[in-house]
């Protein structure tokens, strides 16, 4: 197994240009299985995400997807293109949720390359991405900034 044969060849540090905007190829419909399973798996005890009876009596009328899952799903949809060759995920900032996500809504992801820095490692550099999550009605439901230490091309062979 060579490291580089397992991941893409067009998503190294050198491949990202500040100002580029990507539309990621796959969308994902957020199902009851996704929301309830992950909410419960991560010990989130807020029943608005898993008690349909109590939520039926609210202004929403149904369970709401946990925002952390919306964030993880949008970043996930962008991950192959923008994180597959990461050395490390460094952080997130400016995470906001503009409208609720319900079971059956479909998320699509968009990314802009905001900034690049050389960082302090020879084998990688830091890329700052802005991510947006858009639903099936073209409403922006999520936005956030993510900083990633991305491998430079050929760094694996030089190890």
């Amino acid at each position: 197994m060579t490291l580089d044969s397992l991941t893409g060849s067009n998503n190294y540090f050198e491949d990202f240009t500040v100002g580029d905007v990507y539309r990621h190829a796959r969308g994902k419909t957020v199902t009851e299985m996704d929301n309830v399973l992950i909410t419960n798996l991560v010990m989130n005890t807020a029943q608005g995400h898993f008690n349909e009876d109590s939520m039926a009596r609210t202004e929403f009328g149904q369970r709401i997807t946990f925002g952390g899952i919306t964030a993880a799903m949008v970043i996930g949809l962008a991950s192959q293109d923008t994180g597959e060759n990461a050395i490390a995920e460094l952080g997130l900032d400016g995470i906001t949720f503009r409208s609720p996500v319900f079971h059956g809504d479909t998320l699509y992801a968009f990314t802009e390359v905001r900034a690049k820095e050389n960082g302090d490692r020879p084998d990688g550099g830091i890329v700052e991405f802005a991510h947006w999550g858009v639903n099936q009605r073209d409403e922006v439901v999520f936005e956030g900034v993510r900083r990633v230490l991305v491998r430079r091309r050929g760094a694996a062979e030089r190890r």
Partner: protein, 167 residues
């Protein structure tokens, strides 16, 4: 035969969560339970969120990158630390507004155990929603030795205590 109506009349609600009035700047919450991250958590979470870094689900690949074994998906680390904080901070209800200044301090290995703590950093009224207020917390996630793994600022709308419902 016991009926549900009978049970309701005899029972007292064992309440969960804190209201807006329960938060004051500087108050610290040591959150319950802790959570060991398992291989099953990590693969299931990464697969369901389509997060495709091989270090999360290919052990030789993770080792080749210098990790001791599979790396815990950082978004899973974030959501578990968040999840552990919910009963103390936001279970009572109110919209999750956002997260700022989140830092992953180091990669976390599958098998490590997370604990969480939060400190109230801001409390204010909501202009548009008088029955709720806005609270910000600094939440920190630690490994079993107390080393800081992740920290972030979270802001939520939080319900005020219903009229006549005294703590």
């Amino acid at each position: 035969m016991t009926t549900a109506a009978e049970l309701r009349s005899r029972a007292t609600l064992w309440p969960k969560g804190n209201y807006f009035e329960d938060f004051a700047v500087g108050k610290v919450f040591e959150h319950h339970w802790g959570r060991t991250l398992t291989e099953s958590d990590n693969i299931q979470f990464s697969a369901l969120t389509l997060n495709y870094h091989p270090a999360y689900f290919n052990v030789p690949y993770a080792r080749a990158l210098g990790h001791p074994g599979a790396v815990a998906n950082p978004m899973l680390v974030f959501l578990v630390v968040f999840g552990l904080s919910v009963e103390d901070l936001s279970e009572i209800g109110g919209a999750f507004l956002g997260v700022r200044a989140l830092t992953f301090h180091r990669p976390v290995a599958v098998g490590e155990t997370l604990t969480a703590r939060s400190t109230v950093t801001a409390v204010r009224e909501s202009d548009s929603r008088p029955r709720e207020g806005i609270v910000t917390w600094h939440t920190e996630g630690f490994d079993e030795h107390g080393e800081l793994l992740i920290d972030f600022l979270r802001t939520n709308l939080i319900s005020k205590r219903p009229n006549g419902d005294l703590a």
